[in-house]
């Protein structure tokens, strides 16, 4: 069992905290493992489908960092719900510096 902490607010507004996350696990994997609504991760973490889109909470952006060009291109495909704090969950891997991070799943449509 890991020991890093992640707080996720799903598309329905429910917030849960997971405090046993292993280092190296992506936020998409955390969300899928716990059935966080709105995290689908269709492409399996390949940065190729934008179904694990999250907004990074205030205060964490500097530690998480900007998306690279490839990730930005994918976020651009969901430009209608993209914000300045948008990242794909599959591209954020947990490390001790991110211990305690909070993210909100980007609004999913009903499908």
């Amino acid at each position: 069992m890991g020991k890093l902490k992640v707080t996720m607010t799903d598309v329905n507004g429910d917030t849960r905290t997971f405090d046993d996350v292993e280092e190296g696990t992506s936020l998409m994997e955390v969300g899928k493992a716990h059935g966080v609504a709105g995290i689908m991760g269709d492409c399996g973490g390949g940065c190729a489908c934008a179904t694990c889109h999250v907004y990074v909470a205030e205060g964490w952006w500097d530690k998480v960092g900007e998306p690279d060009d490839i990730e930005f291109a994918m976020l651009d495909m969901v430009a209608d719900v993209m914000k300045d704090t948008s990242r794909l969950g599959c591209q954020i891997r947990m490390n001790p510096e991110l211990d305690g991070i909070a993210v909100t799943v980007a609004p999913a449509s009903t499908y």
């Binding site: 190729a48 719900v81 609004p107």
Partner: protein, 443 residues
């Protein structure tokens, strides 16, 4: 998709014109005319009877974006394993299976065309091969391959070619062959194999054609099995070597080697899926460049702007999706958006109709690279079965688009548009041959 619907989604049935009512009553996806030009039929279904039972086909056609999304998000109720294998050589499956067993080294069910949790484990094996980052690393090599191919075509006869047979098909074959570690220079043979495999879910083959296609598949399987045995003994730096030595991780954490049968099916699926549909997308690109006013100019204007070129490619996939429809089977009686689907019913998710759904993509026939929700198109399907090679497909179309503009100009259709023929199949929308004329663009 993590996006939001801004338009109200009318789940209500809409009133149809008398022509649309006639189409709905008489139309069937088995009709070659409708296969070639299906949009009016899709629209009539989408508006009047969104989950429509096509009696001649024996399948329920799911045509609205919201319903396609709902069905593909529930892989346990709507089984790919049953849907795909029911569709395979439908009506002749026993004979098909027996033929491959007798002449083709075995019948290898498609391991990836399966349901969770088995599917989850198999898919995990394949996911790292074609991530967007891995594909980005391949871009220079893909560019070399495409540049060389178009160069060859121009050198052969600098003014005319068949955009499908001379460019689209060999292009995607050369790339997937290199990734898998197969032999180059077999493009005709691999193209025939691809046609034979995809015909099995096309629903349009006669018994004689099924046997002909099964012969081709036997030839394919013998070729792949020999290659795989070789890599089993002497591994190389290629996907075949990875797959013959691959292990899957079970739910309890134990590891298990893929069976040889599973590995054959995965290599076969990667080879076929890795060339056929992407070639269709590139053929369709030549089609729109030569038939739709303003498209060539638009492509030329975005070629050096990566963001706009990505959007051009994505809108092209929405606008002309290569895969028309893929299968599911309802494992229990289920109501989808007001329509009762019986247990055991075969369904087709009509992606091409979903991409034209005006409640998600306003003015769907308009080619608009500025759509804010482009990522919601279903050309790659969605849910856990979403196309695994999507990043590679996008990259191949993108590089092809760039190299076409760099090397060719004034591309024109060399036959009347009405003479374009489409592969007889319910599964894809594929131009068989596209003669064009062009001028060489000097560097």
């Amino acid at each position: 998709m993590a996006t939001q619907t801004t338009e109200p989604r009318p789940s209500q049935r809409l009133a149809l014109s008398s022509e649309e009512q006639r189409l709905l009553a008489e139309g069937t996806l088995t009709d070659r005319g409708i296969q070639a030009h299906p949009r009016a039929f899709y629209r009539a279904m989408r508006h009047g009877d969104p989950i429509h039972y096509d009696e001649k086909l024996g399948s329920w056609l799911v045509t609205r974006h919201e319903d396609i999304s709902a069905v593909q998000s529930d892989p346990l109720t709507f089984s790919v394993h049953h849907g795909y294998h029911e569709q395979q050589a439908r009506g002749m499956h026993e004979e098909f299976r027996a033929y491959l067993k007798e002449h083709g080294g075995g019948y290898f069910p498609d391991a990836i065309m399966s349901d969770p949790p088995y599917h989850t484990r198999i898919r995990k094996l394949m996911e790292n091969a074609f991530t967007a980052h891995r594909v980005k690393e391949l871009e220079p090599r893909i560019t070399e391959v495409v540049r060389a191919l178009i160069g060859e075509v121009i050198a052969r006869d600098g003014t005319r070619c068949d955009a499908v047979k001379d460019i689209a098909i060999p292009l995607t074959i050369r790339i997937i062959v290199e990734q898998l570690g197969l032999d180059q220079g077999m493009e005709d043979r691999i193209s025939r194999w691809s046609v034979a495999v995809t015909a099995q879910i096309g629903r349009m083959q006669s018994r004689e054609q099924m046997i002909e296609n099964a012969k081709e598949i036997c030839d394919l399987q013998h070729y792949l099995i020999a290659k795989m045995k070789q890599r089993e003994a002497v591994p190389g730096e290629d996907m075949i070597s990875d797959l013959v030595h691959a292990e899957v991780t079970n739910a309890d954490g134990t590891r298990e080697k893929l069976t040889f049968e599973e590995a054959v099916s995965l290599v076969r699926a990667t080879l076929i899926a890795g060339n056929d549909t992407t070639a269709t997308a590139i053929g369709n690109l030549f089609y729109v460049l030569t038939t739709k006013p303003g498209m060539a100019e638009l492509l030329e204007s975005v070629i050096d702007d990566d963001r706009r070129l990505n959007r051009f490619v994505e809108e092209h996939l929405r606008n002309e999706p290569p895969v028309r429809a893929l299968s599911r089977m309802a494992v229990k009686e289920t109501v989808v958006n007001g329509t009762t689907i019986p247990e055991g019913a075969h369904m087709l998710l009509v992606y091409a109709s979903g991409n034209d759904d005006e409640t998600v993509f306003p003015e769907p026939r308009k080619f608009d690279i500025d759509r804010p929700n482009l990522g919601r198109h279903v050309a790659f399907g969605g849910g856990p079965h979403r196309c695994i090679g999507l990043a590679l497909a996008r990259m191949e179309v993108k590089v092809a688009a760039r190299e076409i503009v760099r090397q060719m100009k004034n591309i024109r259709l060399a036959i009347p548009e009405g003479e374009i023929t489409y592969t007889p199949t319910v599964a894809t929308h594929t131009i068989e041959s596209l003669p064009i004329t062009f001028e060489r663009r000097e560097a």
